[in-house]
Point group: C2
């Protein structure tokens, strides 16, 4: 990736009187941070356009005991008190400020060039009595603030164990929050919109069963957390660059409206094992009075390190289909064998079991998908259930659950890869780990080598169920390190990663752009597990997608799953599905339904065929969390535009000025709209497709039904 | 490995009346097991030569709750009660008996052919009310009994979580035990000899600090546990074939003299995650009235599965030296950099740090060792501290502590391997993991590939410090699986493994003979950490070595470590050190001291040069735990014999009849004896070397001082 630094940073070191307040405004002055030490406590507050949006909030850390070695003998050691807490007794001893402006080009993204422009204030706070200090670094953007704790190497602080991080976000009132329940193991929840004071009373209602879940507080919520004040200020709290640290949730003080960091513990209850020099992830506060700015913001990406992969030529966006919805919908099966109570890898003889006729990942079926997908211009095909072990893969706390190497007898791995290549496609590998992570680490290098051997260049990995090592959580430091280690090792093998059930992303795809997707939220699969209410897809771009692209797996055309004996209904319309290819940015887009379902609606399917997956430009035309999102995007290296809207529980009317089109140029607009009588529950497949010639002067009046949407392609004629 | 089955097993199925007692004697009738169900409890007792040695002892399991998936949805699940305990409510429903005799040839060992001869009784016990059963399989040998629990796959029992195994060993009195404190993380203790009733009162005295240790009961002890009755019966309790199960300790009921199994928990306190069909390891009870029979017994090996490596041609015994004692003695350093508080792999620039002049693993020093070792006929040279990360490797709970890939700047890995090969030697790789096991799993395949690249064929691995994943223990199921996985993956790469701080061996080297060594006890290094009392080396062959060879690292000639600024003294004599090459069987034998220390005593060093490391035959001439051991061994494929004795706290006189020598043949005996004035504390280097011609009629009168020993080589003249 090429980085263009347009303006070099100007460094200013300001010596301040001890205890003096200091502050920093954003480049255009919209956002301002004030920092102070109050009664020895580091404290910050945030203003937006002159108005306080974060009240004075304290910062600090509690530490736990650590084990330390004694130098007298190489091996004697004892458990000792760790360093004292870094909660109070501080003074400001130094303030460094700087300004930064750059533009950089992402390998893939919502736009081909990203501006990173902030003013920085790095405050050194010292516990004078302990002769110990840390730096709290603020980067102030026009759309918000990022700050982190930095612990330089120093005599009194080499290693420490975090008991808890105490970062407060003190709200100015009982705002409206759009939240999912705090959980150490899953984010696969629907959003609840409520006052901050109501979280604990609504918590149990918001809590739904999952394959692995651990609640820690009835007033706990997850990030990225969106908040709206009664006077129309939008806030978004999240974190950026979560590396070698545990994931942060927030706990709500429902009386004082203070949100406070709550880290994920390890199996022993510790929340971080730190070695200086080190830092926390960035804690981010986006703030705006226009919800579209949240979608437009690149604050999370900008707070991450530049790309660390030198040659990125092998990384590319992917539009794919998959042998997947068959199993999710209950139509097919991951498992090959039927009628056996359990399997043991290396012992179970698969040539001698009864084959489940519904085993989807069989050569013939995969070939059928490849034929359809290649005919319609797809890049890749995901195949799940190709490898042995699925008969009892889940919920058994089974350590040696998969080997990531051995295909089922009816899956001809060589033939199918060769066949895909002959059609100009690739298969996508699938590594479900069943959260048996020691086992995955043990097999990972061999697994990636197998991929290289057969010509796979992308893997979907999965972490369903409780983590082994037992007692660890999906969002603890050990797992955070694992996910990133898997991405780095994949990069060594020129493999792109799409990790499901992994931690919510925090912009690391800037640094490791082979991380082309994550799940880490309630995806389309829940439409087959009972359904997901409208509004969800108008929420995710504000929350989950802030950290990076989501493999949401859209494109379901057959909403009635009774063909699979499943009484769940997909609560969406066909046009609502089409819209997602525009409103959910991802370099990895799936057409998730069956070929035979698309064949019934090839006219609508055409939009999925046509839509781009990488962009030069994105315009956020309309947006309100849980209500509606309208986005226009220009395809990368092309003059085509695509437009999409999703509507929440209310129908939505748009008046879209096409003034973003090249002036004086004509375009063919193909408009995919919910039919007037479309209904996400009772009539989801009703749509209209109209074509007209438009220019930059055209205004389109477009309508989405509740739970529906629209999609438009704009192709230049001249 | 070639296996010779001389006599095929004869299978007898005996239908017995429900509740009837059943019994089985050993092939020559010395040992007898009686099994019964008493008040619903499975119960066994053991007799030796008609005398009860294990009183009726109950058998059974308590189970914990498990997580289970629900089939309604693919992802819904809940925590449910696991299967009910298997403690009582049993009836005998079937008894199968069989006899077995075979001889098999180990890849390496104390003898070239091993007899495996037992009578077997497999008792099916059924919880009739629950329609559930298990099999308790006894193998009765003349020198003892092995039994295990087998859980066949059955409707009521697919997955279960062990809360505790309740296997009792009820002693017939307040016997003398030779024990080390029960610990989930280390076996590196000195032995205490006491009455069973005294364990808890002596526990704290027996407990010494270690890099990772977890006691669980003041009356907890470890296996292999030796016990002696007042009427001269020797018992040895241990386990065989510890696979996918947690390691067993024993807890002593000091009033009733009942020892009971106590498994190692995982981070959540569970003691085993089981999937049927499965079994426990063998629980072993050796019993004899001649202590030598314990040393002679191959019961533990015989209870393990035959070799699973098809081509074993690359596995070979190794006599080696090492760049190791320099660091242990405090003379040298593992770490390259000095004056820096900590390192981060990938960030710390080693080319820009101050080099510790005492860094031992430097090219010049390693070359010096290679020159000496090759001149004296050694096979390999271990080099520790070759790779980056040693500056803060230990006691910091540091996950990314080593990469197992990157040499220090002063260690030329290619040159040194090439140089070693040019001298007919190989280097031994060192993988200290610092117990950061997720990290080791992540790098293992690459690490083994690096070994293959440079021509290493053996690795010493190490597990110093607390385990990461945190909360796991060295002897828990997860780690048991890890150690074996490392050995299996090594076999794929034709690499031999010598794992230190891993679980005590249980005979798995029969199945995986590339596991050529383990530490798993207090080795020679403790002579540099304060010393180890005489008696220890006369104990280990009865205890630790029962499960497999130990890398004890003998051969220290310079007992005064003041050259290293270390005031610890090696509590042994030079001849006491020489004896260990015979009395401690291992296919991996080290000469641990510095070349310059050997150069001062090249006449004594000659024995180390000459002694074999693989044997056709071993004769156990004299033995009493903690007191003395005298063994004669015939070198494999040679007519040379070697004889050795170690003495404990008392001097020892032997009258050794050389009637094992070929009749009518003359041999040159070279006798390395403690000098009369030798003393393990004050005069350890005093020895005599005499040479005489001997025959099978010769009787040698040999003397070892307390803490000393003797060694004799017997080389045929004609």
């Amino acid at each position: 990736m090429k980085k263009l630094i347009s303006l070099c940073a100007a460094m200013l070191t300001v010596a301040v009187a001890w205890g003096a307040q200091c502050s920093m405004s954003s480049p255009h002055g919209t956002t301002r941070v004030i920092f102070d030490v109050v009664d020895g406590h580091p404290t910050y507050e945030v203003y937006f356009k002159g108005k306080q949006v974060i009240k004075p909030s304290t910062l600090g850390f509690e530490f736990n005991k650590v084990r330390a070695s004694q130098s007298v003998s190489n091996f004697n050691n004892f458990r000792v008190n760790g360093p004292k807490d870094m909660m109070n007794g501080f003074e400001i001893t130094k303030v460094d400020t700087t300004s930064f402006y750059e533009t950089w080009k992402p390998v893939w993204g919502e736009e081909s060039e990203i501006v990173n422009n902030y003013n920085e204030m790095a405050v050194t706070v010292t516990q004078t009595e302990l002769k110990r200090y840390m730096i709290i670094r603020f980067r102030v953007y026009d759309e918000g603030v990022g700050f982190r704790y930095e612990f330089p190497q120093q005599p009194g602080l080499s290693y420490f164990v975090i008991k808890e991080e105490h970062t407060q976000f003190a709200m100015t009132g009982n705002h409206t929050a759009y939240w999912i329940p705090g959980d150490y193991d899953t984010q696969e929840y629907e959003y609840t919109r409520s006052r901050l004071s109501e979280v604990s009373s609504l918590f149990d209602k918001a809590w739904e069963p999952n394959s692995s879940q651990t609640q820690f507080s009835k007033s706990g919520v997850q990030t990225s957390l969106n908040i709206k004040t009664d006077d129309g200020i939008y806030l978004n709290l999240h974190e950026a660059a979560l590396v070698d640290y545990s994931c942060m949730s927030l706990n709500v003080d429902e009386k004082n409206f203070i949100l406070e960091s709550w880290l994920t513990p390890d199996a022993q209850g510790n929340k971080g094992h730190m070695q200086t020099p080190c830092q926390s992830p960035w804690r981010t506060v986006m703030v705006t009075d226009d919800a579209r700015d949240i979608l437009k913001s690149r604050l999370i990406l900008n707070l991450n390190e530049p790309c660390k992969i030198e040659d990125t030529s092998w990384i590319h966006p992917v539009k794919y289909m998959g042998v997947w919805w068959e199993m999710i919908s209950d139509y097919g099966s991951w498992a090959y064998a039927t009628g056996i109570p359990s399997v043991k890898l290396g012992e179970t003889d698969y040539t001698n079991v009864k084959r489940n006729p519904h085993h989807s990942a069989n050569t013939e079926n995969v070939k059928r998908y490849l034929d359809f997908a290649s005919a319609h211009g797809f890049d890749q095909l995901l195949v799940e259930g190709w490898n042995i072990g699925w008969e009892d893969w889940y919920g058994k706390s089974k350590e040696y659950v998969f080997d990531f190497q051995t295909p089922y007898p009816d899956f001809d791995i060589k033939y199918l890869n060769d066949y895909a290549h002959s059609k100009g496609m690739k298969l996508i590998m699938h590594h479900e780990t069943s959260s048996s992570v020691m086992n995955y680490e043990h097999h990972m290098e061999d697994a990636y080598n197998l991929m290289n051997k057969y010509g796979y260049d992308a893997v979907k990995s999965g972490y369903v169920g409780d983590i082994i090592p037992r007692g660890e959580h999906h969002y603890g430091q050990l797992m955070i390190n694992h996910y990133l280690n898997a991405v780095k090792k994949a990069a060594d093998h020129h493999i792109m990663v799409n990790a499901h059930e992994a931690v919510r992303p925090t912009g690391l795809c800037r640094t490791w752009p082979n991380l082309i997707g994550n799940e880490s939220a309630r995806g389309t699969e829940y439409q087959a597990f009972g359904g997901t209410q409208p509004g969800h897809t108008a929420m995710l771009p504000f929350s989950r997608l802030q950290g990076g692209p989501m493999d949401y797996t859209p494109g379901i055309f057959e909403m009635d799953l009774s063909y699979a004996g499943n009484d769940s209904k997909v609560l969406s319309t066909i046009c609502g599905q089409l819209a997602l290819y525009v409103t959910f940015y991802s370099p990895l887009q799936m057409a998730a339904d069956f070929p035979e379902h698309y064949e019934k609606h090839l006219d609508a399917f055409k939009f999925i065929e046509d839509v781009a997956v990488d962009w030069d430009k994105s315009l956020y035309l309309e947006a309100e969390p849980m209500e509606y999102i309208t986005i226009a995007r220009k395809a990368k290296g092309s003059d085509k535009w695509f437009l999409g809207n999703v509507a929440g529980m209310q129908a939505h009317d748009s008046k879209v000025k096409l003034d973003f089109l090249d002036k004086g140029r004509k375009y063919t607009a193909t408009i995919y709209c919910d039919a007037k009588d479309a209904d996400y529950k009772t009539n989801p497949q009703a749509y209209t497709i109209t074509t007209k010639t438009v220019t930059s002067k055209t205004v389109l009046n477009l309508h989405s039904v509740a739970g529906g949407g629209y999609a438009v392609s704009l192709v230049p004629i001249n």
